[in-house]
Amino acid sequence: MRSRWRDGDRVREVEVVPEGGGRYRVTVDGIPFEVFAECLPDDRLRLTTAEAATIAELSATAARRFVRLGTLDFVLDRETSGRRREGRAHAGGLESPMPGVVTRVMVAAGDAVTKGQPLLALEAMKMEHLIRAPRDGRIRSIAARAGEMVNGGVPLVELEDPA
């Protein structure tokens, strides 16, 4: 089985081939290795490789996986539409970085903006976050109104190249 996972700013490719008896051939970003895996209660796996034995503790919310190895925690997001996501970023979509309330919209469709200019303000957890223009451009559309509640990862502003 092949899967792609967003790990911070990068996408990681994993392939898992079951070999029977709890043995798996795993390839991560082209590097193959053997893993012996055993299910434990409470969504834990005992993983044994040529080098070490570790317990991995797994939790999930939607497409997000939380994995704890020893005392270290990692967060990985399942990429189902990696290509589309990249495409959208190129098209200039600006997403809400977190769920929150849009408190101020400082630009309108058609406005020319310069890199770093605040476009709108989002308030969450009692803190205000400014969403700024990542580059010079022109506002194509705005998909949020002041006072509106938005989820994380929702496109809020579409930016196009300066006319």
Binding site: S3, W5, P18, V26, T61, R65, F66, V67, G100, K126
Partner: protein, 499 residues
């Protein structure tokens, strides 16, 4: 003592207050917004009332709804916790006008200390040194004052405090614009555009003194706390005693704090905050007229229950009797667990905490507002819990805290646990050589580089093999108020030697 007390707050502090009420045989009434139905603080109280929509203004900041909930539930007193209405004089006055007891200072004391300029004047009157500064509404005069003080200066909102509404100005050129924007911001955030200037003290530490007053002029101190480890002017790790305070300095600091509290006949628990300059000079910053987030470190070294003190002062009008002198022993240190991504500009996080596990042990205490399966809504302060360790020495307490943070698990949303684990192991923190800007100046970039490094191959193998095996099982629907023994999730708190 009261029969029944309403807790006008949420999260970890509401749970913390409920625990002392229970230990004193006082019934507790929790309030919650619609977003907090079934939240841990509502489950641990004896009864819970929904007071309004998620929006704080309509619920936790809704004075009328809170007083109505207290009246209809038969509570005689209201504990405000910290944040929300804890330092709102109108709320304190409304509680008293309704014939209820406000567990805190008098409305006048809340008002006086809430206006940071008035508080500075009270400190000067009591002979307590204040940070050199200036006030006045005339912008031209303030520019002259700033030049006299010397740049950089800090522009602060008179009704701000706690790092809110402050702005550092590096040179004269930026001052006019800063004064104007600070006035505008203060007007919109605090309903009063009054501002003042303070000289910015470089490499200063934040040291504060816990005080308690009986309301008749008698005041005592419960030693100091060091809170220099801050990000964005908000504390993340606090401890007692301070590594920077020796006995002669401790005597001067605590005497100044007691003089200030005594001079206003302070009632209840309060905290007098100071900046400690590298040359050993200390300056009054502000007084917080409430229970402090970091009060557990004082409890850790004194063995006292500070919420119990608040209740006794409010109910009996006197300080609790302590056999002999109030003493301290060992060292206590606390780390605040926040729902925020420290590697990405401390972006707040919300979601469901699907897996929550806290460390257990005799020298460990966890004050939490969440258990496994609880939601963390977007509307409120992102604090989730506080992990506190005690030990005979600072080094041992710090080592225990490091291990406690390793053992703490919150899955379902990104937290600052990785940041805290790295922070308490940083050599400068181990040596105690930090100031209020040290995290941003010397720690953050290195941490972010490590935190954004690729996950190990084994982490990816684990999630991918998990997908094949159906691990983790799909998240179960939220069960609401269901667990029989929520106190089992609250962790233990015990003082070494008092157990």
């Amino acid at each position: 003592m009261f029969q029944k007390v309403l807790i006008a707050n949420r999260g970890e502090i509401a749970c913390r207050i409920a625990r002392t009420l229970r230990s004193m045989g006082v019934r507790s009434v929790a309030v919650c917004s619609e977003a907090d139905r079934g939240a841990l603080h509502a489950r641990v109280a004896d009864e819970a009332r929904v007071i309004g929509p998620a929006e704080p203004r309509a619920s936790y900041l809704n004075i009328e709804a809170l007083i109505r909930a207290a009246k209809t539930s038969g509570a005689e007193a209201i504990h405000p916790g910290y944040g929300f209405l804890a330092e709102n004089a109108a709320f304190a006055a409304a509680v008293e006008a309704a014939g209820l007891v406000f567990i805190g200072p008098t409305p006048d004391q809340v008002r006086a200390m809430g206006d940071k300029r008035a508080a500075r004047a009270i400190a000067v009157e009591a002979g307590v040194p204040v940070v050199p500064g200036a006030e006045g509404r005339d912008a031209a005069a303030l520019v002259t004052d700033a030049e006299r003080l010397g740049f950089p200066v800090i522009v602060k909102a008179a009704l701000g405090g706690g790092g809110k509404g402050m702005r550092i100005v590096e040179d004269r050129g930026a001052l006019a614009e800063a004064l104007e924007s600070a006035t505008r911001l203060a007007q919109s955030a605090f309903g009063d555009g009054a501002i003042y200037l303070e000289k910015r003290l470089e490499r200063a530490r934040h040291v504060e003194v816990q005080v308690a007053g009986d309301g008749h002029g008698r005041a005592v101190h419960l030693f100091e706390r060091e809170c220099s480890l801050q990000r964005r002017h908000q504390k993340v790790v606090e401890e007692s005693p301070s590594a920077a305070v020796d006995e002669p300095l401790r005597e001067r600091l605590t005497a100044a704090a007691v003089a200030l509290a005594g001079s206003v006949r302070y009632r209840g628990l309060g905290t007098v905050e100071f900046l400690l300059a590298p040359d050993g000079g200390f300056y009054f910053l502000e007084m917080n007229t409430r229970l402090q987030v970091e009060h557990p470190v004082t409890e850790g070294v004194t063995g006292l229950d500070l919420v119990g003190w608040q209740l006794e002062i409010a109910a009996a009008g006197r300080l609790p009797s302590v056999p002999g002198r109030i003493t301290r022993r060992g060292h206590a240190i606390e780390a605040r667990v926040y729902a925020e991504d420290a590697a990405r500009n401390f972006l707040p996080q919300a979601g469901r905490a699907v897996r929550v596990r806290w460390p257990e042990g005799p020298e460990m205490r966890v004050d939490t507002g969440i258990a496994s399966g609880d939601d963390v809504p977007v509307h409120y302060d992102p604090i989730l819990a506080k992990v506190i360790a005690v030990g005979p020495t600072r080094a041992e307490a710090l080592e225990r805290l490091a291990r406690a943070l390793d053992e703490s698990v919150v899955h379902g949303l990104v937290t600052n646990l990785p940041f805290l684990r790295a922070l308490v192991r940083a050599p400068a923190v181990q040596r105690g050589e930090v100031d209020t800007e040290w995290i941003e100046r010397e720690f953050l970039a290195g941490f972010a580089a490590v935190a954004t490094a690729p996950a190990p191959e084994l982490a990816l193998a684990a999630v991918a093999i998990g997908e094949l095996l159906g691990v983790p099982k799909p998240p179960a629907p939220r069960a609401g108020a269901r667990r029989p023994s929520v106190f089992a999730t609250l962790g233990r708190w015990r003082h070494p030697g008092l157990a």
